[in-house]
């Protein structure tokens, strides 16, 4: 469903993403791991068509995202980092906008909004403006717009960041359930989350993919059998990177 080939992105002289290739097929939930600044968000922004890559190919559901992004974009649900939304709108008008802009009309649109509201437990704040909501509700509102059109592909940048333990649990359950018939890729810093939800994990460090396998496979590659130890063994902390640069 998502196919990324030799993707690179340079910001000035800095190579943020360096020759990354991977695929995500239907029924897979892929965890995208890596230290801060490794290029996770940049890769996701390129997949969703927000920023153009310096070189490489991206296709979503067989549609080329670089030459003709609109059909691909129609099939993607995207939850950007920090879950932005239009503050002055009510949850209802925001979700209605999200549904209409994706071509849902009339009864179909009404049902899509209703379903998203139920899935994300937004009934109690349905008529409130978004700037009056707590962080958890804002986050869920943005998540609701990502799934409102029942997309085949779901891209989420740190979907559980800033949620409380209950909300995290709900979000994980939801992602696992939706992963059964969608292609999902999400970034996270929480390694237990990967073990709990993902069918596969991709670890990226300084723009390059350093590991790609099921959580079990990756764990087995560490002596202690823990994902965290494996992660720390193959990625460099940003301080080490800085020391190396200075030297």
């Amino acid at each position: 469903m998502i196919k990324v080939e030799n993707l690179s992105k340079a910001f000035g002289a800095k190579l943020a993403v360096d020759d990354v290739s991977f695929e995500v097929s239907k029924g897979e939930v892929v965890g995208f791991l890596g230290p801060n600044g490794a290029g996770k968000s940049t890769t996701m922004r390129m997949i969703t068509g927000f920023i153009p890559p310096t070189c490489g190919k991206i296709s979503v559901c067989g549609f080329n995202m670089l030459e003709d992004p609109i059909p691909g974009k129609r099939r993607i649900g995207y939850l950007p980092e920090s879950a932005p939304s239009y503050q002055e709108m009510t949850v209802r008008s925001f979700l209605k906008f999200a549904a209409e802009i994706r071509g849902l009309r009339g009864e179909e649109c009404r049902r899509a909004v209703q379903r998203a509201v139920e899935t994300c437990f937004l009934e109690s704040v349905y008529n409130q403006t978004i700037d009056t909501l707590s962080k958890g509700f804002r986050h869920r509102t943005c998540f609701a717009q990502a799934i409102i059109h029942d997309p085949e592909v779901l891209v989420m940048d740190e979907p559980t960041d800033g949620l409380d333990p209950n909300q995290k649990h709900e979000a994980r359950t939801l992602i696992r359930r939706m992963g059964e018939n969608k292609a999902i890729i999400f970034s996270t810093h929480i390694l237990e989350e990967v073990e709990a939800v993902c069918t596969r994990a991709i670890i990226i460090d300084r723009g390059r993919i350093v590991a790609n396998g099921t959580p079990q496979e990756l764990k087995a590659r560490s002596e202690s059998g823990r994902l965290e130890d494996f992660f720390r063994a193959i990625t460099l902390p940003d301080t080490a990177h800085a020391v190396k640069e200075a030297a």
């Binding site: 059909p71 129609r74 932005p84 002055e88 709108m89 999200a98 802009i101």
Partner: protein
């Protein structure tokens, strides 16, 4: 879904955003108060002793100078500051559709503001027997003038993340477009430049082209001038947004 449908949905959301915050009403009240003040006090509406809205339209380039950038300043800077631009541009819309949708919505808002000045039209019709064709022509000119200022504000708003910065640059640009055709300035220029130079410099001014329209002459060249300022500024907006995304 057709391009016009996408533009309509974006424009509707944008227009609703104006009215969901109190700023729109504050703007309308200030605009109407100032328009009335300029017409009846500064413009000497009664002292003129003629049944026309000359006093009303003559102030439009100056009145809009501060008010139109205030309407346009949030268009793109807010999207960037809040991160909603990432949401908007990963929806199945092209950059052009987003630019046009946002521009048309705020233009429509300014048209509504102009339409609310209808009491002056009634007043002049009750007091005398004005040429209503000239008045209609003045309104057409004002709408075009507002569009030109607005497109420039839209451009500066894509340039700066801060609304204040975008407002100040927009006011400066609009002021330049006024001053190059403002009599005191052209007189100064005429002292050392040849008349043809003075004339071509003044040809870039909104005053030069607004003059005919407010006096009831619809000249294709004047209309074309305003439309080309709009087209140029929106095209530049597209270039700016693209370059931000390319990083």
């Amino acid at each position: 879904m057709s391009a016009s449908a996408v533009i309509r949905i974006i424009a509707r959301r944008e227009l609703a955003a104006y009215f969901e915050s109190p700023v729109a009403y504050v703007f309308l009240v200030i605009f109407l108060l100032l328009a009335g003040f300029f017409t009846f006090t500064f413009g000497g509406f009664f002292e003129r002793g003629e049944a026309s809205l000359g006093a009303f339209f003559a102030w439009m380039p100056w009145l809009f100078l501060l008010l139109v950038p205030a309407v346009g300043m949030r268009l793109w800077s807010d999207e960037r500051r809040l991160g909603t631009i990432e949401l908007l541009l990963t929806l199945p819309v092209t950059t052009w559709q987003a630019i046009l949708g946002k521009f048309l919505a705020s233009w429509l808002f300014l048209v509504i503001a102009l339409a609310l000045t209808f009491p002056v039209v009634i007043t002049v019709n009750v007091l005398g027997d004005p040429d209503n064709g000239v008045i209609a022509c003045g309104y057409v000119g004002s709408v075009l003038l507002a569009g030109a200022y607005l497109a420039l504000s839209c451009m500066t708003s894509a340039l700066a993340r801060s609304q204040v910065v975008s407002f100040i640059i927009a006011v400066m640009l609009c002021l330049i477009l006024i001053l190059v055709g403002f009599n005191p300035v052209t007189d100064l220029l005429a002292r050392w430049a040849s008349p043809s130079v003075v004339e071509s410099v003044a040809g870039f001014s909104v005053l030069t082209h607004f003059d005919g329209l407010q006096n009831g002459v619809i000249d294709t060249r004047d209309v074309l001038y305003f439309l080309s300022v709009i087209a140029f500024a929106l095209f530049t907006t597209d270039v700016i947004i693209r370059s931000h995304r390319a990083g």
